[in-house]
């Protein structure tokens, strides 16, 4: 019998602490597979955020930092500028990247740091118990928007992919999702593409991944993926919004 699907060397064996159906796990696997498949694992340094993925340093099977809340892109900048031969990635939640870390992500992107940013958008602060994030959907109930996000009071959700795309410097920017197997397959290809550009020393690479938080959304894992599809995808359109102009054909469709 041939084993055609198994865990990757890019991840440790340790089971995650994520809630049932939390797609942080899927995203971990895709990142782990990408660095392993590209042969980068042994020179990769990952950066865990403060958020539910804070323990990511235990799960990725490569050297890992744990950064302060929101500052992973600055840590990555310091590391990559010091050791350009290393592959640097940050793995950040929406509270981490889009709220407190807004300055750091925009500047790392704008300086064109040759790093890969995996941005997990689950429309809520998972770790701290479900507070409103900048990405929380209009009307969404959270512990700090107990009457639903009121856009007249706190504005519309931030679309980070579009903001980063708007900058001149970053050259690979995409939004993918995890709510169906098909989307996971697409997401994997895009994440791998991002790492490949970094390995080629090309550009700042940014992948936003729509993710679930069944626990804080108060939904079952099944309902949660439906919610991503119905509520999030229309507001956060999927696709690659920027690619280096001279990308090679092989990567054109990100494998799908």
């Amino acid at each position: 019998m041939k084993k055609i699907f198994a865990s990757t060397k890019g991840l440790t064996d340790r089971p995650t602490h994520y809630c049932p159906g939390c797609t942080h796990g899927v995203i971990h696997r895709m990142v782990g597979e990408s660095i392993e498949e590209l042969g980068l694992r042994e020179r990769t340094v990952g950066i865990a955020p403060v958020g539910c993925a804070v323990l990511a340093y235990e799960y990725f099977n490569c050297d890992m930092f744990e950064a302060s809340h929101g500052r992973a892109p600055a840590v990555a900048t310091g590391a990559k500028r010091s050791r350009p031969d290393l592959i640097l990635f940050t793995y950040q939640g929406d509270g981490d990247l889009a709220s407190i870390g807004m300055g750091e992500i925009i500047h790392a992107a704008n300086r064109g740091e040759k790093i890969t940013v995996i941005f997990v958008n689950n429309a809520v602060y998972g770790m701290t118990g479900g507070q409103m994030a900048p990405t929380t959907m209009p009307g969404q109930y959270t512990t700090t928007s107990p009457f639903g996000r009121d856009t007249a009071e706190v504005g519309y959700p931030v679309r980070m992919t579009e903001v980063i795309t708007q900058l001149t410097t970053p050259a690979f920017v995409a939004r993918v999702s995890t709510h169906t197997t098909r989307e996971i397959v697409r997401a994997k290809a895009v994440i791998k593409e991002a790492f490949r550009y970094q390995a080629e020393g090309r550009c700042f690479t940014f992948v936003e991944v729509l993710s679930t938080c069944p626990t804080n959304w108060g939904l079952s894992p099944r309902e949660a993926v439906k919610w991503v599809e119905k509520e999030m995808v229309p507001y956060y359109p999927l696709g690659i919004t920027k690619r280096p102009e001279d990308f090679t054909e092989e990567w054109k469709d990100g494998g799908h």
Binding site: F5, Y18, I184
Partner: protein
């Protein structure tokens, strides 16, 4: 014959594999694992086509897929 292997201690019972399987041959256990979760079980093994959809969807890397010879592939993953 293609088949899958569910690591029941990693499984958290989210049921995403069940929804992902095009053959609709996965179900949930009645028993709980050590963490207190019901876990995924193969219900109709002979119909498994080894497509890996279940494994791709699993957030907890709890599924391994085995095949012998040809197997169906929806996407290149």
């Amino acid at each position: 014959m293609p088949t899958i292997d569910v690591n029941i201690e990693r499984c958290k019972g989210c049921e995403r594999c069940i929804d992902a399987c095009p053959q609709e041959i996965l179900g949930m256990s009645q028993k709980l694992n050590n963490k207190g979760y019901k876990f995924a079980v193969m219900v109709d093994e002979p119909r498994c086509i080894g497509c890996s959809q279940c494994a791709i969807a699993c957030p907890d890397v709890a599924i391994e897929v085995y095949v012998e010879g040809a197997h169906y592939q929806f996407f290149q993953y």
